[in-house]
């Protein structure tokens, strides 16, 4: 690390290179995972956290190879269970910054239970879900986010499984941070990774990621350059939900249903447009936004929700210090001699 400069507080200033490992990256050429890896490695030095205090934990799947490529501490665990391992790491040492890298099969199918419970406990974990709507590592079966009717290896006549919406699940599980980004927009992705890193509590970032081998182009109907301004919408805190090439279309709430309206038509003004509030205590509004899908609606990108709540590991540490205050630091001698005792002479 000698090549690094120093920051003002004396800590070593790291670079993107410091976070790369000597392991050959083994994703397919053209995979969206490369973009995510690059952005995470780019953001890491900006966080000012020494790399020994960072841990990447993953489950099983293409995405879950991620920790091998990050020169931090890392743990490639078992299918679907990464949030559980990560919880143990974070609770054992709250000073560590703990990331969970997962995929749509890993987090939402085999690991659905752990995903829910890590979020509801508000353990300070940064969870990034690479959603490519397919099982890549097992070569092309449908995943829990695959669209209904999609034809693939395990559903040659089309899937008859209704897909799950990862954001709906995250809101239901009381996630305190929920965001969405995509592999093809590195700038936005880097911004979202940074927001996630800065959140205290269970944070969840869904990243639309293209699998160019088994599910190529699954998001292109709305995220290609020519159409994305009309088919996607950027969420910005305290700003009206406006989209479109001409910035003249917006979302207006009609009861609990979002309507697409055009500013300047039928007397609609900017004041009629729904204003985004990522800090709303109740997740009702972000839930409505999270369910907007193409082609009915523009697909929202950005931070849906970011609220503060005490974290699990902090409350546990609080109970431990309260117990020490009340009873004194544990004495083994006292413990084994507690209860009703008697002496045999």
């Amino acid at each position: 690390m000698s090549e690094n400069g120093h920051t003002t507080n004396g800590a070593v200033k790291l670079t993107r290179k410091d976070f790369q490992t000597d392991q050959e990256v083994r994703w397919c050429p053209g995979c969206g995972d490369y973009s995510i890896l690059a952005q995470v490695q780019k953001v890491m030095p900006e966080l000012g956290i020494p790399k020994e205090k960072i841990v990447f934990i993953s489950g099983i799947g293409c995405a879950s190879r991620f920790p091998y490529y990050m020169n931090t501490y890392g743990f490639h665990t078992i299918h679907g269970r990464a949030p559980a391992f990560a919880t143990g790491v974070k609770v054992a040492n709250p000073d560590l910054q703990v990331w969970v890298i997962t995929g749509d099969g890993d987090a939402l199918s085999i690991g659905g239970n752990h995903f829910i419970h890590a979020l509801r406990r508000n353990v300070d974990l940064k969870i990034i879900l690479f959603n490519n709507r397919i099982y890549g590592l097992t070569k092309g079966q449908y995943s829990p986010t695959s669209e209904l009717g999609k034809r693939n290896k395990s559903a040659p006549m089309g899937t008859i499984d209704y897909p799950i919406n990862p954001l709906s699940l995250a809101f239901a599980a009381e996630a305190t941070f929920v965001g969405r980004s995509m592999d093809v927009d590195p700038k936005h992705l880097a911004m979202m990774v940074e927001r996630l890193a800065g959140h205290k509590g269970s944070g969840f970032l869904e990243v639309y990621q293209n699998c160019n081998i088994f599910n190529d182009g699954t998001f292109k109907s709305f995220n290609e350059r020519e159409v994305k301004e009309d088919r996607m919408i950027q969420l910005e805190h305290n700003k009206p939900l406006i989209f479109g090439k001409n910035k003249d279309r917006g979302i207006r709430l009609n009861g609990v249903t979002p309507d697409i309206v055009t500013i300047g038509e039928n007397g609609i003004t900017v004041d009629d447009i729904l204003v985004h509030n990522e800090n709303a205590h109740e997740p009702n509004l972000p839930y409505i936004l999270g369910r907007m899908q193409f082609p009915e609606y523009p697909v929202p990108m950005g931070v849906f929700r970011a609220i503060e709540k005490p974290t699990y590991e902090r409350m546990l540490a609080g109970q431990i210090s309260a117990a020490v205050d009340a009873k004194g630091a544990g004495s083994l001698e006292k413990l084994i001699n507690s209860g009703e005792t008697w002496v045999i002479n």
Binding site: P50, I78, L316, T341, I344
Partner: protein, 620 residues
């Protein structure tokens, strides 16, 4: 609480006192009748006045089966003695049955001519019908082979509490203390320890404390003044090794043992668990001791419980997960990961009857092969097994010592009988506990995640947060030393053998197997786990009769002690009693080519001494 030494009571009675060596009592009633409390109190008092004791709580899986029904019967058996005892007794000599269902379920085990105390108030038509009695056993002559004492315990309790302000239902609930009072008189026990317990327990509700106190005293005085019993009995102090004692259940000893291990290792405990009978008491106990830095995590399921424990172990805690057999089944894949990543992890299995949900509240020892082999591929782990409730303390320390020294998962195989059963525990001096401070690698120079200690083959424990030691581990096959992912055929062959060798090397760190009795002879009874008490009692009886019978008890099941083969070959016959269909016996036969004989029983109950004695006799 300070140590108490109580004088044995001298009851003002005109009745003769008969001195007995040992008595086995079973209290039985509805699961809401408080039989576990009654049995527990009789046990504590007996221990405090110097008897040796051994207990067997036996309760239904249903929390509140319909009142008066057969499935709702809850029992508590205890054996108290003036000599050294190791089992809760085969057949009770005394049965206290609080209703017809309790009588029906337990009468077949009462010794012929035994004392039968019945709460006649509950022998009404409704209860008799629920228990499946066509005729009232109180007057159909079916109990003529026993010494029956018919006592209207419920109405006597209510009468004693005439002036209590408690609602009727709550007054009625005091009848277990009335029954306890009767038994205290009959067996010449002091009431003080229980009076004190009531005060501590119900101090915040003085009217409840008072009612229970009155019921206890009323029961005692009733027996004393009514000359109900023709005699009463005295069981003297046992010759117990001098020392300071407390009564302890296996699950308590397990929890305290792991806290001790954490203190000795100098690292906090992380206990990940999902509630399951009969292991939940370990979670309850550990969660009380947060002032030791204990972190308990009630997970969303068994897999998360072990996952979090492994994560905590990676981060430098003593990672524990506790469950019973069905939970171990769910944890198997994660145990394999701990094998592959070579992290210290302790898996506590408080075994119960199976397969599947099986008999949740009953004991069995049928998870040995699951612990040994129950994972994909060759994935060896260490296995230790406590022999008695108090031994859980020692073996908990042992499990942590081996897991941290060898950087490997270790199973702790307890069972329902050990977990819920209790015995006096001689409180150890802290100096007698092993030195086992753990060391984390911090030196950057020459570090690799899979470097090996020459003697133990352990890899370094390099925890996140340590500068310069950043590394990645995972479930994919590793190259030795570098820890890099490696799929080469020779490397895999090497690593599979290395992981096995590492567990095998624990042998250099475990004590040789001790033989109880002569080191050679006709019969060796080889046991493991909770059968220790019954086996030792049976073998001792045979030895007293001059037979060439010895026993040996395995506390380390993987690896076995290094002298096991030699011990086995010194006897003509090896009998292996187990509460399964012969799992240890199969291992012994396979490993040592010894024609060992299996004695198996799977009734959800411990062995009776007589069952063992009869089997041994066949080979003399």
């Amino acid at each position: 609480m300070s140590a108490t030494t109580l004088e044995e009571p001298i009851t003002n009675t005109k009745l003769p006192i008969e001195v007995l060596e040992a008595v086995t009592i079973r209290f039985a009633g509805d699961s809401g009748d408080g039989m576990q409390v009654t049995g527990g109190q009789f046990t504590s008092t007996s221990a405090i006045i110097g008897n040796d004791i051994s207990t067997l709580p036996d309760f239904p899986a249903e929390i509140r089966a319909p009142a008066g029904s057969l499935p709702g019967v809850s029992g508590y058996q205890l054996n108290f003695s003036s000599r050294d005892i190791r089992t809760p007794g085969d057949e009770p000599q005394v049965l206290v049955a609080m209703n017809p269902a309790a009588l029906k379920v337990n009468i077949k085990e009462l010794e012929p001519g035994g004392i039968l105390v019945l709460n006649t108030d509950e022998f009404n038509d409704g209860n008799l019908k629920k228990a499946g009695y066509a005729a009232n056993p109180l007057n159909d002559g079916s109990l003529s082979g026993y010494r029956v004492f018919q006592i209207p315990i419920t109405s006597l309790t209510l009468k004693a509490l005439e002036n209590s302000s408690l609602p009727f239902k709550q007054q009625e609930r005091c009848k277990n203390f009335y029954a306890l009072g009767l038994m205290y008189w009959l067996y010449d026990r002091p009431m003080e320890p229980t009076l004190k317990w009531i005060e501590d327990k119900f101090g915040a509700k003085p009217e409840v404390a008072e009612a229970n106190t009155m019921a206890l005293r009323a029961g005692y005085n009733y027996a004393d003044t009514m000359e109900l019993f023709t005699t009463h009995y005295h069981v003297g102090k046992a010759q117990i090794k001098p020392g300071k004692y407390r009564n302890i259940t296996g699950n308590e000893a397990t929890a305290i043992g792991f806290i001790a291990a954490s203190q000795l290792a100098g690292r906090p405990i992380f206990y990940g668990s999902y509630p399951i009978t009969p292991a939940s008491d370990i979670l309850h106990e550990l969660s009380k001791h947060k002032n030791f830095g204990v972190k308990t995590f009630q997970a969303e399921d068994e897999i998360a419980a072990i996952g979090a424990a492994i994560g905590a172990a990676f981060a430098g805690h003593i990672g524990l997960t506790g469950t019973s057999g069905p939970g171990v089944a769910l944890k198997s894949e994660a145990i394999g990961l701990a094998v592959m990543t070579e992290l210290p992890l302790i898996v506590i299995d408080v075994q119960r009857g199976g397969p599947s949900t099986g008999l949740p509240t009953k004991t069995e020892q049928a998870d040995l092969l699951q612990a040994m082999f129950g994972r994909n591929s060759d994935s060896p782990v260490g296995i230790v097994a406590p022999a008695t409730p108090a031994d859980c303390f020692k073996m908990a320390v042992e499990a942590v010592r081996l897991a941290t020294k060898y950087m490997a998962p270790v199973f702790f195989l307890s069972d329902g009988y050990l977990g819920n059963g209790s015995e006096p525990w001689e409180i150890p001096s802290l100096d007698s506990l092993p030195e086992m401070k753990v060391h984390f690698r911090t030196e950057v120079e020459g570090f690799f995640p899979y470097l090996r200690d020459e003697k133990t083959l352990a890899r370094p424990w390099a925890v996140p947060g340590t500068p310069g030691l950043e590394h990645r581990i995972g479930g994919l096959e590793k190259q030795n030393i570098t820890g890099n992912v490696n799929y080469e055929p020779d490397n895999h062959d090497f690593m599979v053998r290395l992981r096995a060798e590492k567990i095998h090397r624990m042998q250099q760190d475990i004590p040789p197997l001790a033989v109880f009795g002569k080191p050679e002879g006709k019969v060796l009874v080889l046991g493991w786990g909770s059968t220790y008490g019954a086996i030792t009692t049976a073998v001792e009886q045979m030895q007293e009769q001059g037979h060439a019978v010895s026993s040996a008890h395995l506390r380390h099941l993987n690896p076995f002690p290094s002298n096991l083969g030699e011990v086995l070959k010194s006897f003509e016959t090896v009998i292996v009693p187990e509460l399964n269909l012969g799992q240890l016996c199969m291992l012994i036969r396979a490993r040592f080519l010894v024609d060992a004989v299996s004695l198996s029983q799977v009734k959800g109950k411990p062995f009776k001494v007589s069952t063992l004695v009869n089997k041994i006799k066949e080979y003399l």
